[in-house]
């Protein structure tokens, strides 16, 4: 069953057809939520609630990229969660290592097909990216996650965020500039293949 058929049947109330779409896009939705919130549990909750909201408001889908429509639900749910956090700030419970120190990025969520060395390198990159992304304003963060981390095209991001293409281009350029400056601070910590050469920095 292709996407169009699934959407048509889901519109008629077929939950199984909708679940086919969930399975197709749940990784994208979860990754976006995770990058936006930097919290795996909150990201899972937000993803689940976004799919429920998507099913309930399926009749508002007016064609176009279904993934972008789902990502819009996820983005809105993330904004809600971030607003809630601002109102009621909490301290996230991070897993502890053997020395009872907090592990900033849970290793068990990473791809387990990598070698230990690659995992260490990726963890360094992951930490740097996570840190720099969280310093961005939410609107800039959403754009740069979708375009640079997830690799979506501008049109899809424009549909997902409900903003014109010009806004997406502008926010992306500004977000990249900020990230460039932030990642430069991690230059020595990043593996050689990820380092920004000093001669490349303006």
């Amino acid at each position: 069953m292709d996407e169009a058929q699934c959407i048509a049947r889901a519109l008629e109330g077929d939950l199984e057809a909708f679940n086919q779409l969930v399975l197709a896009y749940q990784d994208s939705a979860y990754n976006l939520a995770y990058r936006m919130l930097n919290d795996p549990d909150a990201a899972a909750d937000v993803t689940q609630s976004a799919f429920i909201a998507a099913y309930r408001s399926l009749k508002t889908y007016r064609g176009g990229s279904f993934r972008a429509w789902v990502l819009r639900m996820v983005t809105n749910a993330c904004y809600d969660e971030l607003r809630r956090r601002k109102r009621r700030p909490t301290v996230a419970l991070e897993p502890l290592n053997r020395d009872e120190e907090e592990i900033e990025s849970p290793a068990w969520l990473m791809d387990d097909h990598l070698s230990p060395e690659e995992m260490v390198q990726l963890r360094e990159v992951e930490n740097a990216i996570t840190h720099c992304l969280q310093d961005l304003p939410e609107d800039f963060r959403a754009v740069v996650i979708m375009v640079d981390v997830e690799g979506y095209d501008y049109a899809e991001v424009s549909q997902a965020l409900g903003k014109p293409l010009g806004t997406i281009k502008s926010r992306l350029a500004r977000a990249r500039l900020r990230l460039r400056d932030c990642l430069a601070g991690f230059a020595e910590l990043l593996p050689a293949r990820f380092r920004l050469g000093k001669e490349e920095m303006a």
Binding site: D111, V149, Y154, R180, F194, M201
Partner: protein, 269 residues
């Protein structure tokens, strides 16, 4: 000398990196990249930044997010958030009580006093509101004509009959002109009948504060023929005030209950 790139330049370089420029803009940027080393450096830094970001590991969804019928069933309607509105409601009630205190109560106070039915019309005509109908008590003066006692005409001075004589009946509205000379003139006619000992009369005392003969009602010689008027006890206005107070008390009680409810309500987790 280095050219400082504007945000517009950065935006064009960023879009060029993603192949999102029009043909014209793309040629323009490529020309700048060839001729300006700072443009080249800026573009390289953006490209490297994007490269690092694309190395961010993708996460697998920790579980399946497929929906069950229970998840998508219509949510139960939430109860009225009464306790969220309770503080504002309690404050509003207290404010209402204060406003009620300062506002004239439509059915209470002076407007509740016994008014002649025509009072509004009199006011409209510019006449002053008549004071409460006085009760006229004769201390040794002329007795009210028989006609005034509701005993029909005849007897007494015939010239005192007519409309003027009606004004001496207690309880009847008395026009100001009625209290003038004709009634005040001492009459040589027969000794006054002992006034009936109504409560009002019993309560009445002479100007000196003591009644010379409270039992018989005989005035002192110098006080004979004088007319004293006694303002009847003001009609009860407690009904209007008490209604107002009742409403205020009810509102305050409601505010108090809301306040207590807010205090004892468990805070949301």
């Amino acid at each position: 000398m280095k050219t400082r790139l504007s945000y517009k330049d950065w935006e064009r370089l960023s879009a060029y990196l993603d192949g999102q420029l029009s043909e014209r803009d793309r040629r323009k940027v490529e020309e700048q990249l060839r001729t300006h080393p700072e443009y080249r450096e800026a573009w390289e830094s953006l490209r490297q930044t994007r490269h690092v970001l694309r190395q961010a590991p993708r996460r697998k969804a920790p579980r399946s997010f497929t929906l069950t019928p229970a998840m998508v069933s219509s949510p139960r309607p939430r109860p009225m958030p009464i306790w969220q509105l309770a503080p504002a409601l309690a404050i509003a009630l207290v404010v209402l009580v204060v406003i009620l205190e300062w506002l004239p109560f439509p059915t209470g106070g002076s407007t509740m006093r016994a008014q002649a039915p025509g009072a509004p019309q009199m006011e409209a005509l510019g006449l002053s509101e008549p004071t409460p109908t006085p009760v006229i008590v004769y201390w040794g003066g002329p007795p009210p004509p028989p006609s005034a006692m509701g005993m029909g005409g005849g007897g007494g001075a015939s010239d005192m009959g007519g409309s003027a004589s009606k004004g001496v009946v207690p309880g009847y509205p008395l026009l100001p002109s009625i209290t003038s000379a004709p009634l005040m003139a001492p009459s040589p006619s027969p000794p006054p009948a002992t006034p009936q000992a109504t409560p009002e009369v019993r309560a009445l005392q002479g100007p000196s504060g003591e009644s010379p003969n409270p039992i018989l009602g005989l005035p002192a010689p110098e006080e004979r023929g004088k007319i004293y008027t006694a303002t009847p006890a003001s009609p009860s206005i407690s009904s209007g005030i008490s209604l107002k107070r009742l409403i205020q008390a009810g509102l305050l009680m409601l505010a108090l209950v809301l306040g207590i409810g807010i205090l004892i309500r468990k805070p949301r987790p």
